[in-house]
Amino acid sequence: MSATGERQPMKRLEATRSLRSLIKGYYDDLFRTASEGRPSAWLNVGVPCEFFYAMDIFPFYPENYGAACGALKITPQLSAVSEAHGFSADLCSYVRATLGTVFSGEGPYGELPKPTLQVSAMNSCIMIMVWWRAVQRHWEVPTFVVDTPLVRDQSEGINLDYVESELRRMVAWVEGQTGRVLDLERLREVVRLSNEGKEIWSEVLDLRRARPCPITAADIFTHMFPMVALRGTPQYVAHLRALRDEIKQRVDEGFAAVEGERYRLLWDNLPPWFDLKLFDDLAARGVNFVIDTYTQAWGPRYMGPIDEVDPLRSFAAYMGAGFLNVQIGRRYDLLAELVDLYGVDGVVFHSDRSCKPFSLVQVELRRKLQENLGIPGLLLEGDHNDQTLLDRGRAWSQLESFLEVIDGRR
């Protein structure tokens, strides 16, 4: 088999076309916000954008921006800039790419405007906090950290009280920095839209259970953008509705995203943004990643509907037990559940050098899945944003061998 063997081109979702204009509109808004002197905030994905939309503060997510750098394969050049400033080449590739832009003004959208403030939450990794710290020191931008201590599986009791108090502290701090007061009624309106979109997202994830699966992992990964950055806006709901309807139509028509779907696999971790073509190349072998853990982080198990009556408490509960803020037991339970629900033949664990919390439990998860459920797993060394850290040839050989393992079990 060749990694680039001849085949019919993959049929892309129409919704992916409209996604491009959604992203363009978002970046236009970012630059317009800056030029008009309105406030903007750099947030990490663990900080709910809903608060900021409710306060009319433009939320910008550098992790999304980093992924864009990855997709354009410019992380190595930007990384060279951050390395020249003394930052290690071993750091997360999102960090290296973003700092490269901050230091040089270079990047896919040119120089990024300096935000009014930054907020990060501790519910993913230490890296996020120190990344924001590096930007804070360079741009001298006010920065706030929402403390969300690591939990075993749920945020409850004193932990939940603490995270809620941290959210209240965040709101007060943002109000102090911007002079904008959080109107709870306005927050509830944003939450209503956010919840509506999350419900649709949940349907999208469920539709992937169909045999054959109507979409590929490459299709869905790109649609993470509105889930991260636009929750609570009308355009987010409209986009997700169009996406859901298109996928549902495919299911109704029995459409197979991967012709002759032979292997139904699960992808664990972020994708290699610079090489989503990997999924297309594997499709030629009958492989479809019918489900993944990354998109689940925005699914109902980890980011469910927010209680409109007491939104702060409800946000705190989800933030406190975010996908990367819980322990291996809950990660295993999710994998086992997905394997069953989606009829998975095997799991590819993308061992992502740039995401330690996601990756450093994978060896153990693979062992447990094999021992408990007899589901084979492959540990694939790579990176989510730096193409120099993925040995494509070696990865391909490993994937081929893995498919043989699955064949041997049939």
Binding site: D90, V95, M122, I126, R133, D161, Y162
Partner: protein
Amino acid sequence: MSGRAHTGEPPAGPAALARLRSVGTDPLSELAHIKERTGLMAMGYFDSYLPEELIMAHGIVPHRVTVSGRDDPRSHEFIQGYACPAARDLLEQALRGDLSLLDGVLFTRYCDSLRGVFAVWDSQKLSPFVDFVRYPTVVDTEGAVTYLAQELQEVSARIARALDAPLDERRLLDSIAACDRKRALVAELAARRATRDLPLAGADFLAVLVAATTMLPDEFTAALSTLLEHPPAGEPGDAVPVVLSGTTFDNIALAAAIESAGLYLAADDLSTGSRWYGIRVGSQPAAAGETPTDPWEALARAYLTKPPCSVKEPSSPRADHLVGLVRASAAEGVLFYLTKFCDSEQVEWPFLRDRLAREGIPVMMVEGDQKGEGSGALSTRLEAFRERFELGGEDS
């Protein structure tokens, strides 16, 4: 070594130093002796944010598990190679059975590598009891103090249940006092080393640090008191004084190699050193008519307000701490030891480098995996670093 010979010491001094060196270089043997003599259980921990007083309050011996520095590939069967080598070393010790004396271990969320090690430890049940403190990262709020005080009590309750080792309130206060005493003595030793009043070699000082979190507090205090009262003789040589900065650093052989290059480790900015022995909890029984200080709150406050590690927010007080150490010890430069794959230190390094440059303090960064004495190339770099001072020195 810096050429400071330990000759002519009074008899008590050498004996105390020999004892501390012995424990420092083989802490697990000391733990075995303690367990044999006392019959007590032992609880391991891994970073200086974990209050050892919490463990002692249950009548359990706390033991900071130090980095062994041994080459051992077996962790690769459980965790990827881009986890911090110090964290992998701790896991390897457990996997090869070196830590079988521990009846339990307590983690905090210190860093993302150690968090990965916790997951494996917990999943593989590498010790009879495994638990973690849901530790704050933000260290400068009253909310964090209140929360940590509550969380420590919840952990305490779980220890009591799981190990049938009830908490003794009186023992908690005694533990706080005992740990404050020993940390104050280590601080005194550090201060006397900094002024060359007691120019103990850096390798020996590291051994003392390891002994401090290994020996029973009263025994350690007695040994260190003896050393302070009867210091080894010796003149400060012409070695160039520097401050060693980093996170966990238990590598006694490397410390000796650094001093062999003509440098004197006059002070430390280590998480296992000055960012630990500066802790003073200070909770005492109240005098008549006074409101007693809650020992849990006192513990939480003391551990959260110590000079921070780069994994905590805010971390900026650490730079002031480091510059203060340079001034107080009249050090001529800083040696920054960056452990491979340590995310937070990798980001902190350019900041500290620039801050030191603004202060006119030369700094050299050494990246390593906490194993061995370092390479010949490292020796050459260290000697070049020393020579720049002998030649009148320029900023790095």
